[in-house]
Symmetry: C2
Subunit: 209 residues, 2 copies
């Protein structure tokens, strides 16, 4: 009966020998994913604790026991989202092709991603960048700075540091514009068209030394 293997919902990746006390009746990781969807759609302040507890089918004390606070859950949600996006982006960059092609692919796939799930349009991080809550926005700023730094380092073999910085800023500017336009309801085709124009400009920049 008490064998570890019978644990139906291990909240961590490794199978633990189930702790004492009443077991958690919901999966905390699933909760993060659900919260991420809500926060992506409506932003940090657009989602209330009541919304979250209703979506996770738990009561407030369970949420606070599991995540500490609304902000704590938001941080876990946006970090999970960022890790997911980062994996996709790095896959786009790691492919054996030129930096121009890679950045073009990055822009184009972003355009598609931003508009492929109408319930969660745009980029969650770009959306969170404009929260009025200082702490929530701070988390988004930190994540976006990390992504900018990563892109910049990726470009160092292909461009001077200054030029890399310029290109990254232009790319981020367009990604953020794409995210906003996706949230405004622009079609996937429209977004891809605009992404390709930006990609062309990046390509020109990389070609002229």
């Amino acid at each position: 009966m008490s064998s570890p293997g019978s644990d139906p919902k291990p909240s961590s990746g490794t199978t633990l020998p189930r702790r004492r006390g009443r077991p958690q009746q919901f999966n905390a990781q699933d909760g993060v994913a659900i919260a991420a969807r809500l926060f992506h759609r409506a932003g940090y302040e657009g989602v209330s604790v009541a919304d979250l507890t209703q979506a996770l089918k738990i009561n407030p004390p369970s949420l606070y026991a599991a995540y500490g606070s609304k902000l704590g859950l938001f941080e876990r949600a946006i970090r999970a989202y960022a890790a997911d996006e980062l994996a996709q982006v790095q896959q786009a960059l790691r492919a054996e092709r030129s930096a121009a092609e890679a950045l073009g692919g990055l822009l184009e796939t972003a355009a598609i991603r931003y508009s492929s799930r109408p319930a969660t349009p745009g980029c969650m991080i770009a959306t969170a960048l404009q929260s009025h809550d200082d702490a929530a926005r701070g988390i988004a700023v930190t994540l976006t700075r990390q992504n900018e730094a990563l892109l910049e380092e990726y470009l160092w073999p292909s461009a001077s540091p200054g030029k890399a910085r310029t290109i990254v800023q232009f790319v981020m500017q367009n990604l953020r514009g794409l995210s906003l336009n996706a949230r405004l309801g622009y079609s996937s085709d429209d977004l891809v068209r605009s992404a390709r124009i930006a990609a062309g400009a990046v390509s020109d920049l990389l070609e002229t030394p």
Copy 2:
């Protein structure tokens, strides 16, 4: 004593023969300008009625008597802002030069405008586009659609309707990205550099028929 000329603060542009009742002790137009600054900085939901009454040095009933509601004041504020911006944009477009130069100038001056007043960075409309309040966002969407339509019509002599639409979407995407980057604290030089890259892409699009 009761001559109209002695009216110290006519709330309307025309000098009225002062109505009956206790006179308004604040200038409603000034109030709109002050509110516009607050809303520009912090967005619709980032400014409370208490913030507004404190900034206008009035009590809530006076605000509601003058503007109807917080949303009413926001609408007057953002419309005033939009009219102001529209005048500057139309001046940029009306100049006798090519569409490419005009759009390039539009992008560049926007980059400068968005970063010239650190207390109110970015574009107020672009910022308001992401409010969580449906009514406030709706007003911003309406204004931005009007601006898009205007830009599109401006381009009709220079490009096919489809191409005009594409160019406008790309320009708006970059304006919105510039606005967000301005709010993130990017320097004026950085913004202008990115704006010029976008302008170059627009120029290319207009040159290739």
